[in-house]
């Protein structure tokens, strides 16, 4: 049958084209991962070595000197970036929108904050071994759950284990009953509200509205000392690098593929024999642990943690960092966290009334105009530029999928 033969011929052609496209794509991926590796190391070296060095060198007047304040602020942004990585992992890759990540951040921050509070010792305003707010509230004896936080090791472990524990219970209940999408978002928001309410109470002995503050020392080093802050900054950079590698490993692993599949079609994953609930629970817990780590790094650098930093609005802001940077890309989450917080610290200083407008506008703009975030914009520009330069070089374009019509 001539028709048949013709068909076979065309199939071969299609196969060839597909093969060459695949090879090209693999090449592109390899190149991209090379480029990514290059970026990773460059940024890593700048953050880890160059900035602290510029801060440490004793030329405070010169224009390239990085002030203590600047370095400290950057440390805060990078702590936020760890948190953003966690949110990106669940939202960008697994499609779970959590509006309650402030809670996990807060658990980590409060855990380490409690250690810092206790290590003030008698340097406090009232000269009492009890934290100041307990003296105000007429608490005579340290509550039992504060006791273990005399130990730094316990506090550091608790800062990560508490969010994990909490996320496991909450996630298990939520994913088991297949709460997802907006339902999950709404429930986590209620979680953030509840946590905010509870942390605000005085009788929970967590500092009430004023939170934990006035820290003096960490592990015997004074927090006001630039050297300590520099060390904390470097620790944050290292943690961020570790978190990034962990996330990249998860995303590139087979489980990562399942996560993306869950995002794009949960029912199909379920029908293919996977259990989406377990994968979601896993990634949710990892994300919570990262949030706890971020909180623990945040507290000694910023020097205060209050319920206002863990409530409904902060939790939503965290999501918007990821959206601005570009969700579904790890680098986007980091860039978004740094960029938005930078803008925030500038705007709230000079135009405090305008910040909510800006934030609201950002929500709208990100969702409506550039849903892929900054990384998406960059990609669009670079692919447009690539097409343009290819045209200049008169090289034939890689045929786009679907341009050849198979019968």
């Amino acid at each position: 049958m001539p028709n048949h033969e013709q068909h076979g011929l065309r199939t071969d052609k299609v196969m060839d084209a597909a093969k060459s496209r695949l090879e090209e794509a693999l090449n592109v991926t390899k190149q991209a991962s090379n480029v990514r590796g290059l970026w990773f190391w460059t940024i890593g070296v700048v953050l880890l070595v160059v900035l602290p060095l510029l801060n440490a060198l004793p030329f405070p007047e010169s224009w390239w000197h990085v002030s203590d304040f600047m370095l400290n602020r950057f440390g805060k942004f990078l702590a936020y970036a760890i948190l953003a990585l966690g949110i990106d992992l669940i939202w960008g890759y697994a499609g779970i929108l959590s509006l309650g990540h402030g809670v996990f951040f807060g658990l980590g921050a409060y855990a380490l904050g409690m250690y810092l509070m206790l290590s003030i010792g008698t340097e406090s305003v009232y000269g009492n071994t009890l934290p100041d707010f307990m003296v105000w509230n007429q608490v005579k004896q340290l509550p039992f759950f504060w006791m273990p936080f005399y130990s730094f090791g316990f506090a550091a472990v608790a800062a990560i284990l508490l969010p994990i524990l909490f996320a496991t219970i909450f996630g298990f209940l939520a994913f088991r009953s297949r709460i997802r999408g907006v339902y999950f978002a709404v429930i986590t928001q209620a979680l953030a509200l509840s946590a905010w309410l509870v942390f605000n109470r005085n009788e929970t002995n967590l500092g009430g509205t004023n939170g934990l503050t006035d820290f003096k020392k960490v592990l015997g080093f004074r927090l006001s000392d630039p050297g300590t802050q520099r060390a904390l900054y470097i620790l944050t950079v290292l943690c961020l690098g570790g978190a990034y590698l962990l996330c990249r490993w998860i995303v590139n692993s087979r489980s990562g593929k399942v996560l993306v599949a869950i995002r794009d079609g949960e029912q199909r994953v379920l029908f293919s024999g996977y259990s989406p609930a377990n994968f979601k629970l896993f990634v949710f817990v990892v994300s919570a642990a990262l949030a706890g780590l971020a909180g623990a790094l945040y507290v000694p650098q910023v020097g205060i943690i209050t319920p206002a930093q863990i409530g409904v609005l902060p939790s939503l802001e965290m999501v918007i960092w990821v959206a601005v940077g570009g969700r579904g890309t790890l680098i986007g989450a980091v860039l978004g966290a740094i960029g938005v917080n930078w803008a925030r610290s500038i705007l709230t200083n000079s135009f405090p009334d305008l910040w909510p407008f800006f934030l609201g506008g950002l929500f709208l703009a990100v969702v409506l105009l550039f849903p892929e975030g900054c990384v998406g914009i960059y990609r669009r520009i670079s692919s447009a530029w690539g097409a343009f330069s290819d045209k200049l070089r008169k090289k034939p374009l890689v045929p786009a999928p679907g341009s050849q019509k198979a019968p």
Binding site: L173, A190, L197, L359, V367, L368
Partner: protein, 509 residues
């Protein structure tokens, strides 16, 4: 005449060591009769019996004119006389008010007699009791009579009064009865004490019950506001799969519309029509919020169709902008005066008074639910909405303009939020963050109630609103809210898609 004035002045000056000049300037317009003057002087006498007699005389002879005169006298009197005069005036005013045509005034006068504790008032109260027809005024009169009798020297009278007060469930008598129950003495006194403690127990049991009724009622009115809000939210969610985070701010918009309507009435219209501003504010807030919702749908939500999480974020952005705009424009706190026809309340039993404003909110919610029911289930528009809700593509194929249905439904749901905001001004202040207080609760209602059936939202709103108020006294507002969240999560384990859902054959459901 001038002689009289001089006489008064002399009397007044002899009484008033302070401010002679003031006394001269403020001579009473009409003089007191000589007898009453003497009584006034006697008021400061050291002898209690003379004092009592003076008080009795003054009040017996008194009328409104005397009240005005005493008031004037009081302005210049010294401390002793002021105190004495106050008692006289309170007695006199309340005695006069007992004959007032308004039952509310009669009642508050009757209640006032109790704490004054003057035995000489008992005959007047009894006389008033005999001619009184209003049930609650009669109740208060009897309560006050017995309350006064509680301090009677005769133990038998005290005993009878205590027993009667217990039967009346008089909350006002509770402190006095408790004190009496502590009394120790001979056999008779002990019997009185026993009766008093029994009576106070009776009253306390009653108070527990009335407290429970009160809680239920408050829960019901909170639920009504929640219901108004959640119904709009649930309809929109059921239809479009969209959670509108700005829903609370649409409610705030309604509240501010009410506030502006009130201000407009105050500024441009005569005082006597002011009370009717609320009637106009209700449709106005519905229309304003509805229009805003319409615009929101057309400019933002329309472009995010099928991306519910993105819609959630975008509408949150809108809500941030709205809150900040309200804060910049209106400042932090503004309050709306409830119209006079909604102040006060109706007494249904001893210790239970249902405020009109809360009753009104409940009625409004009921009317709205009925209206929504008719609209959804008994009209062509509702048929289309339900068709789109069940199967959008099929409805579209059958020629239903699904986008138009979306737009109108969204506007309608927003209007309901505006109406909820208008109702909320009756029981709270108007502030930019108003919507935030209710939004999480109403999301909980939507999640628990499920979508597609009115019944689910109604039940969930009643449940969550009721629980909120029920848990508040024992757990405090904060832990109550936390407990509700836990309950909702546990509930979702059992029914993941809420109380009621449209049954279908999707894998999704």
């Amino acid at each position: 005449m001038s002689r009289m004035i001089r006489l008064i002045l002399i009397a007044a000056m002899s009484l008033l060591p302070i401010g002679q000049a003031a006394g001269e300037e403020q001579a009473p317009a009409t003089p007191l009769s000589a007898e009453l003057q003497r009584a006034v002087i006697d008021l400061t006498s050291d002898d209690p019996s003379v004092q009592e007699a003076a008080v009795a005389r003054l009040v017996e002879r008194g009328d409104r004119k005397l009240l005005a005169q005493l008031e004037e006298l009081r302005l210049t009197a010294d401390r002793n006389l002021r105190l004495a005069l106050k008692t006289v005036m309170d007695l006199l005013r309340n005695k006069l008010n007992l004959e007032n045509p308004d039952p509310n005034i009669r009642r508050s006068a009757a209640i006032d007699f109790g704490p004054l504790g003057k035995p000489l008032a008992v005959p007047w109260l009894e006389a008033a009791f005999a001619r009184e027809t209003n049930r609650w005024v009669r109740y208060s009169l009897e309560e006050s009579i017995n309350l006064i009798k509680l301090s009677n020297p005769d133990p038998e009278v005290r005993l009878a009064a205590a027993v009667r007060l217990g039967d009346l469930h008089s909350q006002n008598a509770l402190p006095a009865l408790k004190e009496l129950a502590q009394a120790d003495g001979d056999l008779q006194v002990q019997r009185v004490a026993q009766a008093a403690s029994h009576a106070s127990e009776q009253i306390e049991t009653w108070a527990t019950w009335t407290g429970a009724i009160d809680t239920v009622f408050r829960g019901l009115s909170l639920s009504s506001v929640l219901l108004l809000m959640a119904l709009g939210l649930a309809i929109i969610f059921g239809l479009m799969g969209v959670i509108n985070m700005a829903h609370g701010e649409l409610m705030m918009l309604g509240a501010y519309t009410t506030f502006l309507m009130q201000e407009a009435f105050k500024t441009y219209l005569p005082v006597n029509v002011f009370d009717y501003y609320f009637l106009l504010a209700m449709p106005a807030s519905f229309v304003v919020s509805g229009l805003f919702g319409f615009v929101l749908e057309a400019t933002v939500i329309r472009f995010l169709y099928g991306r519910p999480l993105e819609t959630l974020l975008a509408t949150w952005g809108v809500s941030l902008i709205l809150i900040q705009s309200a804060r910049v424009y209106f400042g932090d706190l503004t309050s709306v005066a409830a119209p006079t026809w909604l102040s006060g309340g109706v007494q249904v039993m001893v210790g239970v008074q249902l405020p009109y404003n809360r009753l009104f909110i409940i009625a409004l919610a009921t009317v709205c639910v009925m209206g929504i029911y008719l609209l959804l289930f008994r009209s062509v528009m509702g048929l289309k909405v339900r068709a789109v809700m069940q199967n959008r593509d099929m409805a579209g194929c059958l020629g239903i303009p699904t986008r138009k249905v979306d737009a109108y439904t969204f506007a309608f749901g927003s209007g309901l939020a505006g109406l909820a905001g208008c109702a909320l001004t009756l029981i709270g202040n108007v502030e930019p963050g108003l919507g935030q207080n209710y939004i999480v609760d109403s999301f909980m209602v939507v999640v628990t109630g499920g979508v597609g059936k009115l019944g689910g939202s109604i039940l969930a709103a009643l449940g969550i609103g009721g629980l909120n108020k029920l848990l508040e006294p024992s757990f405090g507002a904060v832990y109550g809210k936390v407990l509700i969240l836990i309950l909702v999560i546990v509930f979702l384990q059992w029914r993941p898609s809420g109380l009621f859902t449209i049954k279908g054959r999707h894998a999704e459901s």
